[in-house]
Symmetry: C3
Subunit: 333 residues, 3 copies
Amino acid sequence: MSDYVRNLWYMAAWVGEVPDGGVLARTFLDEKWLIYELTTGGYAMLRDRCAHRFVQLSKGERNGNVIHCPYHGLGFNAEGTCVHSPFPDVHPQASVATMPIVARHDALWFWPGEAALADEGTIPDFAYLSDPDRAAWRGYLPIKGHYELMTDNLMDLTHAEFLHRESFGVNGSIFTGKQTVRQDDDGAIWNNWDMVDSTPPDWAKPMLNEGERVDQYLHMRWHAPSCMDLSIGMARAGSGGADFVVPPMRNPHIITPETQETCHYFYDHAPGEEEAARARQVFVMEDEPMIAAAHEGLAGEDFWDARPLILPSDAGAIRARRRMMQLLRAERA
Amino acid sequence: MSDYVRNLWYMAAWVGEVPDGGVLARTFLDEKWLIYELTTGGYAMLRDRCAHRFVQLSKGERNGNVIHCPYHGLGFNAEGTCVHSPFPDVHPQASVATMPIVARHDALWFWPGEAALADEGTIPDFAYLSDPDRAAWRGYLPIKGHYELMTDNLMDLTHAEFLHRESFGVNGSIFTGKQTVRQDDDGAIWNNWDMVDSTPPDWAKPMLNEGERVDQYLHMRWHAPSCMDLSIGMARAGSGGADFVVPPMRNPHIITPETQETCHYFYDHAPGEEEAARARQVFVMEDEPMIAAAHEGLAGEDFWDARPLILPSDAGAIRARRRMMQLLRAERA
Amino acid sequence: MSDYVRNLWYMAAWVGEVPDGGVLARTFLDEKWLIYELTTGGYAMLRDRCAHRFVQLSKGERNGNVIHCPYHGLGFNAEGTCVHSPFPDVHPQASVATMPIVARHDALWFWPGEAALADEGTIPDFAYLSDPDRAAWRGYLPIKGHYELMTDNLMDLTHAEFLHRESFGVNGSIFTGKQTVRQDDDGAIWNNWDMVDSTPPDWAKPMLNEGERVDQYLHMRWHAPSCMDLSIGMARAGSGGADFVVPPMRNPHIITPETQETCHYFYDHAPGEEEAARARQVFVMEDEPMIAAAHEGLAGEDFWDARPLILPSDAGAIRARRRMMQLLRAERA
């Protein structure tokens, strides 16, 4: 019985993380896997464990689309079939597990469940990531903590008012807004903050007339398991949300479990080295230690058994957690 | 079901260990706690885990008697009640656990059991520690081993004859004495050695007439869980224990479990930097490695399952272990 | 119930590893033991854990054939009996466990099972190790992996064709040969490769006439638990195996479990510092990382549950694994 929902698309990597002609080795859902781009186009994802003596194939050599185990030289193709053996006999019955993997929106997505159910149409929409200008400004961080603690973090952005007050300087405006939580037919859960006719933050004042007020929004969309899409904007009050003070932004915050104790965090950020440094400051110096501290605080106890206080601002996060529990129960049934 | 006896006073820290205006974070009985001195006098002890997302409150900020979580800014008062929230709503129903904690004999004592049963009158008597001249000469050491291995160590001081022969030089005189083990009405267990009309150790001879003999005693008093009080003295033989060669000494050796694998050791020593160095030599270089070696030797096996050889000199230590088992059984019943 | 077959001889150390007048501390089958040479000849092997407070005796002092615990000074003789106490009473009933240990073929062998069944006649034959010229060229390596993964490695030398192609340069000739697997009455299992009338490897050609062919053999003999003996040779084809191109070689490859996760590897190699370096290159840089990778790949899963692909070249290794399972089942019955 798995601890993870399996019939879902999970993000594996940014397309740019897969080395040319090589393989990317990464642990997902407690198992080692390797990913490579096929010489014939597309990608393959193999269990990173030789069928013979369990050595990581990623430590071996790649020859075209065949990956050779470093121990005895057995070679496996993109379907996981053993197609090369230095031994006199070939062993076509030998194979390693594979998973469906597809490139979409400049990211790679894998499906750890029943392959026949893998419908690419259900990959969450991050079409804006296909913009080539964004490709340079991607980030990846390993996080020490259960992936749902990252869902909590990102679905409840009020923590920015405290944890990120130096780095983001939102000045408490979020609490003057209205929080809306809703669910789409495709399973998306939104946790939205709208601050209509509000005082602008200090940094925006030079761009506005004296005393001018703004409409701000901060919308977070979630898809299972933990694929989040942040939209933020600020328009002149009364412009019907059309006259933006600065261009509105949209950013992915996508989390994939590595183990029960750790996860992968994929994000991007505004262009420029300064913004890259700022993103790292916020994520590495501020968020990551909090996730690690929360994980350590749980000390192996189940999240619900620890009876967490639920704040109104957690509404979206809790709904996402409940959705994951429903999906897990449904798969186990 | 706890592995620890809970309705007991445990020593948390020396009063001087709590930083002015700050908090002391320490793990006791497998849980993280924080301790601070109230601006209004007295002390508070809170579970070091926010009610919301389990982050260590000790990583946050203290504002008067309110401790703020570093993640979302929730503030908890000395009663553990959430009294501050950056969110529009306050959440008075939210709280973190607290424990009774009192300062007594210049040490802090907490009661992890039923608060209504916490009677300060049952804190073991270490009144001599209130002497301000002693305050400078306190020590604290983290120990890698189960706390009862420290009880064994201290209740059977014959190990000094072997392990500490360089540092203490007791010259085997302990074995010429008489061992007495007794129990007081308040639960104290004594393991006493009395060496009447004995040859003095070499270091004492210059203070005595040629051939003069001495009465020595070495008394250790134990209170649950592992609070020991050592009294030692040496008087001219025949003086009825009144004519001391050097002033008699009394020293605390108080142990509190941190986890099942580790414990806290609180002690003091004779005044002076030289004595501080000597105490560290004995405890850090000689005792601690033995406790760690004993713990490692058990390799997770239960002490009694490993069928320890019981020496007559262990009589007090074994009685103390039995007492702890009785108390644990009584609490579980 | 043990995870190990107990009624077997296991190799503990090379005789030369035991320090003169001292003790060798080593973990075998998950327990700490110490070994020393008796002043009266022969060897003793004691559980490295004092009967009193479980401290490692090997951290104490040796006095003749008596080992003193560093904690309280209790002394144990070669039979494990407590024969010295600094306390007034002696405690002849106190003892630590011992195991039969004998020196044979310049190695030390211990019997962790029922002592009455320990028949030295069943120690596998490595008589050639008694040759004093070989004594300087012995090696010992700690290996991170289950000991049976080393059995697999050594009983299937075809991995040399891939993993050791730089270091050994066997040029694929093994696959032109015939594999024979057989079992002797004494329980020995052989995995033999014979390459009759084969093309010589490049390094041998200068020693042969133009176009001359050779008969090569590579025979590995296994005894439980994991004591292997390698014989290799190359003779001029048609000489009936008598006209050797280079002197035939025989080398021990003996493995003893340390824990379920680690093992001890005892080997020797051809004389000379260059050969010592070559052996280390092959074992430390090539074999050991593969064993560690295989162990990590299993990630705690049972070998058979992981459904390993079985190649024809594994025939000897698999037969050895099956033999160990039979022995274990027989002991448990």
